[in-house]
């Protein structure tokens, strides 16, 4: 499907109460319109429950279910079982956050993956517990400020590196795993459609910036996502039947520092910590993604100036 062929109808309607510039809302909206009406969703405890349903208002125009936090895998498996036994052709999607996937929901997700339940699991990764007010999760990157990894006099920010969720999920030998970025629409649409066309346990790992959590200008959601990919902080790939394939190769890798400086959560980082994070990216890239023709991480370019937003707008957002 080309961009222009996407359906117009909002199955996740306007008027929802997500923060301006919400990466999760953007991802949900575009995923669900590709899937269409014969879909049912489960959302565990997260911002998406709050901004998508506040009694009696709801943004969803497809069946929506929510009970708890740590049970996305099991809940969607149960829903699917009912449709199967009733002979109904309904795609069941779970939209969980990084906390609900990397941490508290890992076991439930693993169960559904290992049973190869015929469901789509989507992890909306904004790299911390945002609904409770920005606390560190297993998906929080090295150096990031969160309220539970504060920038103190002795210790500054998160001291551990982002958990390698992809390898954990892929180790279940599921039919399809892919990482997505809202900043790369063609790749995004292709992967969502591919997941739609397949059976069995499919996992889409979406990179979804959080404006208050990342302390950044709401206009930059897409830009920061692109820069995450260009710097190697987020890599676009897919794993199909055990085979890993990079789906987007940056022309030249950008410096991790350029990505970090766009966001208040990283702005305190020392040169030493930035270097550590850059080394982590290099290592990750070299270890996993460095195939023939892929750029080397040390060939870095200076940051580009971006356009479109007025000076006043920048000022208003304290930039």
């Amino acid at each position: 499907m080309k961009l222009k062929d996407l359906p117009d109808e909002n199955l996740f309607t306007q008027g929802h109460t997500a923060c301006p510039g919400c990466g999760a809302a953007m991802s949900i909206r575009n995923t669900i319109r590709i899937f269409g009406k014969d879909t049912a969703v489960y959302v565990p405890a997260s911002c998406a429950v709050v901004f998508g349903t506040t009694f009696p208002l709801a943004a969803w125009k497809v069946p929506f279910f929510h009970t708890a936090f740590e049970n996305t895998g099991a809940s969607i498996a149960g829903m699917k079982a009912a449709y199967e036994v009733k002979g109904k052709d309904v795609t069941v999607i779970g939209f969980a956050g990084d906390g609900g996937t990397y941490d508290i929901g890992l076991q439930s997700m693993s169960g559904a993956a290992e049973r190869n339940d015929d469901v789509l699991y989507i992890c909306l990764d904004n790299e911390a517990y945002m609904n409770t007010g920005i606390q560190r999760s297993g998906g929080t990157p090295f150096g990031a400020w969160t309220t539970t990894t504060p920038v103190g006099k002795k210790t500054q920010g998160n001291r551990t590196f982002k958990k390698n969720l992809a390898e954990i999920v892929a180790a279940h030998d599921i039919p399809y795993f892919a990482t997505l970025s809202i900043g790369h629409p063609v790749d995004f649409i292709r992967k969502v459609e591919k997941a739609k066309s397949m059976k069995g346990f499919r996992f889409l790992h979406m990179f979804t910036p959080c404006i208050p959590g990342w302390k950044m200008d709401p206009a930059k959601t897409v830009e920061v996502t692109k820069l995450a990919v260009e710097s190697g902080m987020w890599t676009l790939f897919e794993i199909e039947n055990g085979e890993k394939k990079i789906t987007y190769k940056p022309q030249k890798m950008k410096r991790v520092k350029d990505y970090l400086m766009m966001q208040g959560r990283f702005r305190h980082m020392s040169e030493e910590d930035i270097k550590k994070l850059q080394m982590w990216v290099c290592h990750k890239w070299n270890l996993n993604y460095n195939e023939k023709g892929a750029p080397g991480v040390c060939e870095i370019e200076p940051p580009e100036e971006h356009h479109g937003v007025t000076e006043e707008h920048r000022e208003m957002h304290g930039l």
Binding site: H16, A18, P56, A58, K61, A219, G308, E315, M316
Partner: protein, 299 residues
């Protein structure tokens, strides 16, 4: 007992303002409590906070229903919220507005102090954070605490959290707003009607709270009903598109987190429904041909 109700939007610091006012009252030897209404709304959505001040210990743990003073951090709230609800007749209103009190219609003639706290904040703090400036105006209008105590409380609370320098700059913002506040009687022309709410009995409530799409006399409920929620007030800026420049690449239509850029299929054109635009600016930032500019939503 002196009771204050703060109206703001998520992210504007209404809760911090309520706490700082309490701190100022305590500095003067009074007892004070401050608390938010814990809603589930996100950044930009209307929020409430309260402060109670008395000479002795305060036992009441309820919300404030008949305030002596109402503080409005964002005058766009006047479009959707009856901010003077329950305000005592001899009470007062403190409002962030570029207009003079006599030009502000609150639906009630009441002692009002107005200050353009947004410009004060932009000028001194270089950011539209108005919660400290508005406290200067409150000191001027109500006299419940002195401006000196407000300054001291700001330095203490903000200084502790964000560093001494920022604390001092915020104190300057409060003092500047104090000096610029204009007082007078507000207009009482049109009182905003409270939006009707669907309040079913337990027998009327659908079983298990499960909703299918429906309509009540207060509007839509259930699947797709968030369209009832006009969020235009959240926006500081709104996008304006130059039709000549637009190439209909549809990136803005794809990226918009609200889904409020719509295709008018028969005309082959795009339209932004401002009722649902929160003014994030992604469309402008991402437009490859610079066809979209962000402009102030309210001038």
């Amino acid at each position: 007992m002196f009771e204050v109700r703060f109206h703001g939007r998520g992210g504007q610091g209404a809760v911090m303002a309520a706490q700082t006012l309490a701190e100022a009252a305590v500095i003067e030897g009074n007892y004070a409590v401050a608390f938010p209404f814990f809603g589930a709304e996100r950044r930009g959505a209307p929020v409430l906070a309260f402060t109670r001040i008395d000479s002795g210990k305060i036992y009441s743990k309820t919300q404030v229903y008949t305030p002596d003073c109402v503080v409005v951090l964002d005058d766009s709230l006047l479009d959707t919220i009856d901010v003077v609800a329950g305000l005592k007749p001899d009470g007062s209103v403190v409002i962030n507005s570029k207009d003079a009190p006599t030009d502000i219609d609150l639906g009630m003639e009441v002692h009002t102090g107005a200050v353009n706290a947004t410009s004060v904040a932009l000028e001194i703090l270089k950011a539209p954070i108005t919660n400290t400036a508005i406290l200067g105006a409150l000191a001027k209008v109500t006299g419940i605490v002195s401006i000196e105590s407000i300054e001291a409380a700001i330095k203490r609370r903000f200084g502790e959290k964000l560093g001494e320098k920022i604390g001092e700059r915020n104190a300057v913002a409060a003092r500047t707003a104090y000096e610029r506040t204009v007082t007078g009687k507000s207009m009482g022309v049109k009182r905003l009607e409270q939006k009707k709410q669907w309040l079913p009995t337990h027998q009327e409530l659908p079983v298990g709270g499960a909703l299918v799409a429906g309509k009540t006399d207060a509007g839509l409920i259930g699947p797709g009903s968030f369209t009832e929620n006009n969020v235009s007030g959240w926006a500081t800026f709104r996008p304006v598109r130059d039709r000549e420049k637009c190439t209909m690449c549809l990136l803005c239509w794809f990226y918009c987190p609200e889904g409020t850029i719509v295709r008018i299929s028969d005309k082959g054109d795009l339209m932004t429904n401002y009722d649902y635009c929160k003014g994030c600016g992604i469309c402008a930032n991402e437009c490859p041909v610079d066809a979209i500019k962000m402009v102030r939503a309210r001038v």
